[in-house]
């Protein structure tokens, strides 16, 4: 088991490095001049050149990337072009917001989605199944930021329980933190929950057509036992596999949803970064997102190995 985990970790590192490489290369395509970003329009050519030299943008591409990666490995994502701040500091200040929302959204999506999907799956072909499937089909079409806007307009503002705009960090007050991420998590997780519900239900139905279900029936296992022991675990496998991709989608969605709630997350940072042409921030942001997705992927991979012993490395 430990070996399996180590191998997974080892295989995720090149993935993250490659992702950062692709982004680094992509951002090279820009015509934005860091010196202009930093020093404004009216500095001397010498001053511009000096700054370019200082931050290394005159070096060959691979050298630039190499030094960025070496620094990134130590947690240093470089300096913002726009100001004196370290990108890693700017990001870490805001990371908790975005990650809280994305994880909250994942929780909502998985918890509600799996429960609804299983509820539909165990009633496959019955009216309740049809209803859950219909609701889920509709739910999947709800854009997360619209749900967020509606929640703010119709829940946060009229009832004074959940904050409409004020984010509280978990270190300040866990309770207020939970309150502040509840509505955004619901906004973020609704469509994903619907997608998971449908996927779980579909996986269930597929499993119910497998020959081993017939064997279980022939052996005399009860409906309950077949559904909750045999079918459920087999049906979870494809759902867990796809949850990593889902987390990525949610992380992207969190950027939009935090704008709805005006939370000071990564989205806000990167939007300002784009307006200012501050590419190190964009790069750092993509890198952190890729690392976050990779970490969640790792956790899900491990979960997956627990559910499906066939995938263990012996």
């Amino acid at each position: 088991m430990t070996r399996t985990i180590l191998i997974r970790i080892a295989s995720l590192i090149p993935l993250v490095i490659l992702a950062s490489f692709v982004t680094f290369w992509l951002l090279q395509l820009t015509e934005t001049d860091p010196a202009v970003v930093r020093l404004g329009d009216d500095a001397t050519e010498e001053a511009y050149e000096l700054y370019r030299e200082e931050i290394g943008v005159n070096d060959p591409f691979l050298v630039q990337y190499g030094s960025w990666l070496a620094n990134a490995a130590t947690g240093d994502l470089g300096e913002s072009w726009h100001g004196p701040d370290q990108v890693s500091e700017l990001i870490s200040e805001r990371l908790s917001v975005t990650i809280s929302l994305a994880l909250g959204g994942l929780f909502v999506a998985v918890a509600i989605g799996m429960v609804a999907g299983v509820a539909a799956g165990v009633r496959a072909g019955r009216p309740a199944d049809g209803m859950i499937t219909a609701v889920a089909s509709s739910g999947q079409a709800l854009p997360n930021f619209w749900v967020g806007i509606l929640l703010v307009a119709f829940v946060a503002i009229p009832y004074d329980v959940f904050p409409a705009t004020l984010y509280t960090g978990p270190t300040e007050s866990v309770w207020n933190w939970l309150l502040s991420i509840t509505l955004p998590s619901i906004a973020l997780g609704t469509s994903a929950a619907a997608a998971i519900a449908r996927q779980t239900r579909a996986a269930f139905v597929r499993v119910l057509h497998e020959p081993y279900i017939r064997t279980a029936l022939a052996v005399g296992l009860s409906r309950r036992s077949i559904l909750y022991r045999t079918a459920l675990r087999n049906a979870c496998i494809p759902v867990v596999t796809s949850a990593a991709t889902l987390f990525g989608t949610l992380l992207g969605g969190a950027i939009v949803v935090e704008a709805v709630f005006a939370y000071p997350g990564l989205g806000n940072l990167v939007l300002v970064g784009i307006q200012n042409g501050d590419l190190p921030i964009v790069l750092g942001f993509v890198f952190v997102a890729a690392v976050a997705v990779a970490l969640v992927q790792l956790v899900l991979d491990i979960t997956y190995t627990i559910i499906d012993p066939r995938t263990r490395v012996s």
């Binding site: 090149p14 496959a124 089909s137 079409a141 029936l217 005399g220 969605g253 950027i255 993509v286 012993p309």
Partner: protein, 632 residues
Amino acid sequence: MKRRLAGTEGDSTFVKVAWGLIILLGGVAVFGPTLSPYDPNIGDFQKLLQGPNGDHWLGTDNLGRDTLSRLIAGTRVAALAGLEATAIAIAVGVPIGITVGFVGGTIDRLVMRVVDAVAAIPALVLAIAIIAAIGSGLGQAMLAVGLAFSASVARLARGLALAERERLYVDGARVVGLSRPNLLGRHILPNIGGPLVVIATTVFAAAIVIEAGLSFLGLGVPIPDASWGSMLTDAQRVHRNHPWQSVPPGIAIFISVLAINVVGDSLLRRRRGESFDHPAGHLEPVIVRKQGEHTEPVREPGRVLTVRSLSVSYPETTAVLDANFHVDQGEVVALVGESGSGKTSVVMAIAGLLTPPADVGAAELSLNTPAGDLSLLDVSRREQYGWRRNIGVVFQEPAASLNPLQTVGRQMTNALKRAGGLSRREISERTIELLNAVGLPHPQEVARLRPDQISGGMAQRVVIAQALASEPRLLVADEPTTALDVTIQAETIALLKQLGEERGLAVVLVTHDLGVAAQLSDRTLVMYQGRVVEAALMADLVASPQHPYTAELLESVPRNVPGVRIEPRIDHLTTLEVPTAGCLYAPRCPHAADVCRQDEPPLREVNGHLTACVRADDLDLAGITRNPGVGP
């Protein structure tokens, strides 16, 4: 079977409505400017933030612009955005995916590493990065979204191509001499076109949402142009006092995404019909209806199973018509026939495992158990479970018949728990005992293994052990040896024979192989197209068949005897139509006469056999002898 793009008979009203909506939205996107009641970008400062009214059906926004007009303008933006992003994602992703999937090897691994890395970046995040590099604006944003999606499209397309490449027909086409481009264009692409369309619909729907999201963030359409996303930005500024503002654009996104999803699902559904028609799968088998005349069952001593007038039909075919037989304690009855003969339907009906759309009826289907007689006709689900507990079933595909995630021991435990009344310790003892009884060496170790860790022959032994867990009086085996290798088949036959004798089991054996039947069965029923055409003691059947079909089967079985060679022959097969009257075998029968084509012949007794051949008395059909070279 012609495939149409839209609106086949199978589609529900829902899907038709969704198609209608898509056509409507498409129309609005194309003819938007002419439909629009006002200029979407010019506001009337006298009429700010109005609700719906006669002049402005959906009200006005914070700058007094007509909401409906902006919604219409946004429709075109959404449609263009969706089309652009989808086209880019497909144009970039599909060729990459299909090419590497088809070529395989090192190129595949290298390219997929990069694709995986790109796909590890959330699509919206990557899109934002691309916008940072190339600047914002609708065209750029959608280029970014298209590129961001192309990685996951490439992954999906590769998966499809890879799966298709492994299909045997691709080897077939290669062997015939098709070049790679031909192979791709003529065989692989047409077969994966359907799933690609489904992928395209999901990308389209996702692109609409992302466009709205990017415009909402200010990275999409430039101000003051209308997009559903930028309308929400405006709405959000005032939502404290004017919550209505966020409703129309949100609904527009919701409805268009929903319509596309519904259509995408319907396309997917058309590709794999069955699982959608009967979602409960094996879990809810059909209940056998009581049909035909009601007579008091005759009880013979030692009788275990009685089947009278069993019929199984499907919407378009009759699988079994009027099957009658019984099995006594310690007796093996074989059902022999070729594919489509209905033999498997008979035993699955007996086991209560046939699933919809099968329709099963019988005049009697009864089992004599120590606790009294049981009937399977018109029973409740609970009674159906009770019936099955008295029957052990062995299936054709041993590996697929076991739960892939549980160890053998665990599955045995589950089976034994249902048998009831055993303590934990007794259960583990019985598990080892049963695994031992089916001839598995080292049962303790086998119990710890999962199905993927044991061979097919071992898996079949485990299935047999499970079938014996409830100590049934009747064992039903559906082609138990067909999936096994010849030497393993012989061992399995020997095991079934030994278990049947030791335990005095009544056995119903289904096989296509008269050789297998000969090893095990006492009596044999030969089936042809759903009808029992001959029934006799196995030895009699082999020595002197009374139905020409039985004779043909016997003659066709390859036997390991000297002096028999297959002679060169090219029979010209005229297309065989299923006759509407008379004997179903007549078109193939060398002895068919006019009398055979009149009425369907009933089963009757001739020379101690039951036969459905009207000419049985006149024919002298050849059986087989031990050694054809020496003579009888």
